[in-house]
């Protein structure tokens, strides 16, 4: 007797790799959405700054729009730059 795999369908969900449980701006869990959105996931993505802090994209964009001069990370006050991997 011999058993070999012919094909396999693996099922997985994906999660954010975040350094925190909750978004520092809206305090909502990263696994759920920012307050404006209904569905978590691709529709309400996370973004990272070079300072390594991460937020809901909608939250940080809103925050940055409210800072006319120094666009800083709301957590560490370093100037905010998106970390594009």
């Amino acid at each position: 007797m011999k058993v070999t795999i012919k094909s396999w369908t693996g099922v997985a969900t994906w999660r954010w790799i975040a350094n925190d449980e909750n978004c520092g701006i809206c305090r909502m869990s990263f696994e759920s959405t920012c307050p404006e959105c209904a569905l978590p996931g691709d529709d309400c993505p996370l973004v990272w700054g070079v300072c390594s802090h991460c937020f809901h994209m909608h939250c940080i964009v809103k925050w940055l729009n409210l800072q006319p001069l120094n666009k800083q990370c709301p957590m560490c006050r370093q100037s905010w730059k998106f970390n594009i991997h």
Binding site: I5, W14, P40
Partner: protein, 851 residues
Amino acid sequence: MLRAIGKRDRDIFEEVWPDKRRIVLKLLRQDTVSQREWQDLFFGVHFVCLWDEKGAAKIYDCLQQDIVEFIVQAQSQVQAQRGEQALLATYIVEWRKFFTQSNYLPLPFRQLEQSPQVKPSSSSSAASASGASTSAAAAASCSGQPGSSSSAVNKASASTSAAAAASSAASTSAAAASTSASTSSAAAAGAASSGSSSSSTSKKNPTEDSPVRKLMLDSWNMHIFHDIKHRLQESAMKIVHAERNGDAYDAQLVVGVRESYVNLSSNAEDKLEIYRENFEMAYLKATAEFYRLKSAEQQQENGVLAYMKYADAKLREEEVRAKRYLEPSSFNILTYTLVKVLIVDHLNSIIAECPALIRDYETERLNLMFRLMDRVLHGVGVEAMMSDLQRHIQSAGLADMLSASEVITQDSEKYVERLLELFNKFSDLVRNAFNDDPRFLTARDIAFKTVVNDTSVFKMELPTSIANRGVKYTAPESKCPELLANYCDMLLRRTPLSKRLTSEQIDARLRDVLLVLKYVNNKDVFMRYHKVHLTRRLILGTSADSEKEEDIVEWLREVGMPADYVNRLARMFQDIKVSEDLNTQFRSSISRHDAINIKILNAGAWARCSERVSVSLPIELEDYIPDVEEFYKKKHSGRKLQWYHHMSNGTITFVNNFGRYDLDVTTFQMAVLFAWNQRQHDKISYENLRLATELPDPELRRTLWSLVAFPKIKKQILLMEPAAINSPKDFAENTMFYINQEFAIVKNGKSQRRGKLNLIGRLQLSTERSQQEDNQSIVQLRILRTQEAIIKIMKVRKRMNNAALQGELIDILKNMFLPSKKMIKEQLEWLIEHKYMRRDDDDINMFIYVA
């Protein structure tokens, strides 16, 4: 005439009138009047009015005398008649003669209208021009006082020229009319043949407002009509009565009497006054009395069902008769009277037949009954029928379900089909018997709701208690939504059923499901099961038609399923498509992974997979996993994968001495079978299998059971020792399992050397523990939805009483579930306790939103 001018002091009236009076009498008698005489009369009236101060009044008085005299003669003629028909006939002849003359005689006397002496003696001011006082004056005019309507006076100057023109025209026609002695009857017949519109023809008559005409009619009314109207009515009603009994009579007699009633009225405001107060009343009374007797008799003799037919026929018959004998204004009140006598008085005995008729599906009779009942004011009868229908559908529907309960609780196809059959049957009934009347459709819908949501045939137990915010919640619910979802699954999955049906048939059945779903209270249960089935179909790729899958999502949106739920379903399709692209890319990146498929799901959109089960994968798979993860990390930075092995599955090739088979298995089954790869002939204990696979106890038991006792196959792939174990719970630590070396796929009693077999069955999407959690999650979700909806309402309303709040709440939630009163109350309490809202200090039923 010129002589008269010289004698202005003498009484011109005395001089001129006796001559003219003869012409008047001729006219009254309908004797021949030459054109010259006719014109003389005009001149005479004009002359007297011009030269004699009191001429107008004198003429008027004289005229009145003549008319009364004439009428008295006519009266004696009429009164002399003994027989009813003769009386009517004579009266009608006399009346028509008189009435015709009342159109001509006033013409020469138009000048009297302008004379102040002839006007009513009422001292009313200018305000008397208003209609009310006019009619009052007219009513008082029975005393013989000429009541010239003031509006006529107002118009008089304007109409003088018109009247002059009309008078010459009328004079010729009068002359023509009077050429033959028998003209009167001919003219009357002509007037009668013009039908019931005779009252309207007189409207255009220029003599309409004439005081002389009024004088004539009032005199007739006072001297003849008053005395014999009872005899007239009685006679007319006797004729109608005889006609109702089937004897033929001259209908024209009744019509003629009616016309005299109508035309007699000199009241300009209400032309039908005399008619209504006498003729109509008598007619209604006679009708009611006739049918009061008849209906009781009919019902006793022939029974209620035949009586309904009788009543219906009589109602129609009387409508036709009314068109002949009554003015259109009386139709409504007559119908009302008839309905009262024929239907309302027998309402209870008729309604009592309704349940039996519904039971026997007697659409024709029901339709008849409905038509009768629909005539009854305030819908009393219809309401009774509606509740009968509702009761019947409920009890018959439930009885039908109960009688078939053994089959339908197991077989969702049979259940849905039976349900639809039931619905169609009753919908047909409503259409055929009640013409799809909206009131009956509502009754049907209410009854359907009861049947669908009934819990006596089968129920789904929702958790009896939940430790959620201290809430205890018990509710057995109908299993209907679950069965509906199952049926949907059978149609959408590749099954014998979906293969048998054409695409159109499947569409039609899916529509049917949505139709039933409309009546389901707890649609959230359907949504959950539908989603679970969809998940299974998408993961295993067993959809029969992926287009249809997406169609039904849109249909669900159309029937009002909550948007976030539908969006999630749509999201699932999107994930599957994205995963397909991902697979293509993955395979082209690393050549050796042709056999690997990945399905990366959006955690929020898919069915809740709360619990991840650890399993030790076969070595080959373990090797693939890091490659996939690495690949995904490159595609999407900042994301990591979480494997859900209880959903993943695959195909293995199983080779033994007998043959070579492709088996579709779950990953768990795969893990178990791989335990034998190194030691094919060993017997492995349950305990060791657990160590090898690292599966949690319940999952291992379930997986093993699916390998030793998969339903409907002759030879199982695993065997066990001892062999007499009846349930997965009975596996002991030392139960031994071993590969069935004789395993083969058996077809038509023959073992096959090659073949394909699906051992997945119903893919377990959740572990045993999370299944309980799932039921709880339904309840929990309901609690949250209720709270959310209450807050949503209160935020807008600020203040609201309990009843209104419950109403709105049910409206918001009805597309998901029907919140129980108890739950609403509990959630209100919870929200008050947590200071989201408070009760009004003065009114315990008033809630106030606390920001």
